[in-house]
């Protein structure tokens, strides 16, 4: 009945304008099923605006956006609701409902979309989602104000995964985390993506994240996606921003870290 198409996200000719500031113009992007796509770009290139357009929070001036086979740009409300139960979104700060506990936050989408699920099963679902997101069991009944930044992100992820979505949107998931926490969060996303067979749309500034978990990277610059491909493919292009981004000191550090990790795991296998 609702099979996931091979291209779950398709953006064509997107244009976004704020006042007379043109953020996007003629932007095209296709996300393939089951991949983790990283979206990078300088500050102010409209990465978050792109994500907000795709999930329907921002109505674009022009262009077509298709998510899971149905159009977002001219969706009717009832159609919209079906799509919304098939994606999960993690906002930058977690955006948890501050008057609810972590578990109650996870239960919100379940209550909304599947009111027929009884309390007992819903509580069980909330509890295991909390653990799956890498939170300790005692975080279940805590309020967001009692959590650290990293735990808030994990709680936000638990809520994003509440309905077992096919699509997961992450807005800078590792920003503000310490390097160990960020690496752990990367691994968590990768593990969940493989287990739950997710397609992940990930906005990030974190080069380690790009090297570690992203299958492809889309580069936003000059109001559009200037390139989209694996990191070696991007490195072969000679766009100045891309070269500076991946070959700057931080880019090289992340690259050599990846190579070291790769070599270490090869040795372990051997």
């Amino acid at each position: 009945m609702r099979e996931c198409p091979d291209i779950p996200i398709r953006v064509r000719g997107l244009k976004n304008v704020f006042g007379d500031h043109v953020v996007h113009e003629g932007l095209d992007l296709e996300v393939r099923k089951g991949e983790i796509i990283g979206v990078v770009g300088g500050s102010g290139t409209g990465k978050s605006v792109l994500m907000r357009s795709i999930i329907g929070l921002q109505v674009p001036a022009e262009g077509e956006i298709e998510v899971l086979g149905s159009s977002i740009t001219d969706a009717r409300d009832d159609e919209d609701i079906d799509i919304r139960s098939r994606w999960g979104v993690l906002f930058q700060g977690g955006a948890l409902f501050s008057t609810l506990t972590v578990a109650e936050n996870v239960e919100v989408p379940l209550r909304e979309f599947y009111p027929e699920i009884e309390d007992e099963l819903r509580h069980e679902i909330a509890r295991y989602k909390v653990l799956l997101s890498g939170l300790p069991a005692n975080a279940t009944r805590k309020y967001p104000s009692e959590l650290s930044g990293g735990m808030k992100k994990r709680a936000g992820l638990a809520r994003a995964l509440a309905l077992d979505p096919e699509l997961l949107f992450l807005d800078e998931p590792t920003a503000g985390l310490d390097p160990i926490g960020a690496a752990a969060f990367d691994q968590l996303i990768l593990g969940l993506q493989q287990t739950l067979n997710l397609t992940v749309f990930l906005i990030t500034h974190d080069l380690d994240t790009l090297y570690e978990i992203c299958d492809r990277v889309a580069v936003l610059a000059d109001r559009k996606v200037i390139a989209c491909g694996t990191i070696p493919e991007l490195l072969a292009l000679d766009h100045p921003w891309i070269q500076e981004y991946f070959n700057g000191p931080r880019g090289r550090a992340a690259q050599s870290a990846k190579q070291r990790n790769g070599a270490a795991s090869e040795q372990q296998k051997g």
Binding site: E104, E120, E124, K129, T140, Y143
Partner: protein, 376 residues
Amino acid sequence: MRALTDFTIASDEAASGDGGGATLAFSGPMTVASLGPIDARIRDVPAPLARIDMTGVTRIDTVGAWVAWRVAQRTGARIVNCKPEAERLIAAVSQADDNREPVAGERLPLFSRVPARVGETIIGLGRGTLQVLGFLGLYVQACWALLRRPSTFRTKALVHQMELVGVNALGIIALMSFLVGIVIAQQGAVQLRQFGAEIYTVNLVGRLTLRELGILMTAIMVAGRSGSAFAAQLGTMKLTEEVDAMRTIGVSPMEALVIPRILATMIMMPLLGIYSAFLGIVGGAFLSSLTLGIPFFTFLARIQEVVPLHDVWVGLVKGPVFGLIVAVSGCYQGLQVRNNAEEVGTRTTAAVVMAIFMVIVLDAFFAVFFTEIGWG
């Protein structure tokens, strides 16, 4: 119509080679969308079972995996004939099943919650009074520090707040006062007509608006407009750590946020009060000229004769005091916000309620006081 999960239980003798016993066979999709209605039936499946057969499962997500895993744990069954996807998901949820924490925050049962709330409220009232006094002390201290270093005074912020509190309120206060003036004149005239004393409508409108109603209604309106705005602004700034950021930069929130707001309200309140009284009188004069046959300008001229000057002073003296109360309760409640967005709401409500309540209590006190000193 969504397809639902289904299951059958069979005591399969043919499979006795496999140990015999009952087999529970799931079929259809096992997802969050299809399990809700039949979860209760699955819970009632009698233990023990030997096997859970997943052959007929078309699609599965973590909720389906969880339900299968839970039945298996409870009945001691083995899960068989899984597709690789189901196996992967069941393995994932089985790692995550040792969470026994309650889902909701702690709540006391009703019979102990009610007395607890009463006690908390009473203790909170006492503590709140002390804290407001402490806040007033801080305010006075900050004002003193400002007097010694007047160059740090934020004139721009003060003027901006005066605009928000005073100038922007002119329209709504004018409308309100004008209408109340009309109502007083009309109702007063109806009663006074019984004694043939309609001319005293002028005294009624003039003295009532200048002494009491002008400033009281203004205080209530400012509490609703600006007191609530102060509480919500400062509360949100507390939540987004703006107040903390100010402190670390060396800017005192008291100086930058609280003093301009309180001063602006204290300056604007008497002005708005007298403005409101004048418009009340205009309203009264307007109605009198229409229905009582007292010409508009005669009414205004009579006001000067029948209203003693000390009535104007009574109104003006109350202004800054009411302004202080409204602004202090708004700022104090705003800065008490700690945890979440809900608190911004409750604190804003508390600020307005506290301000209006205190204004009315003090107004009663002023009424008695001014009469006693001969300004009746």
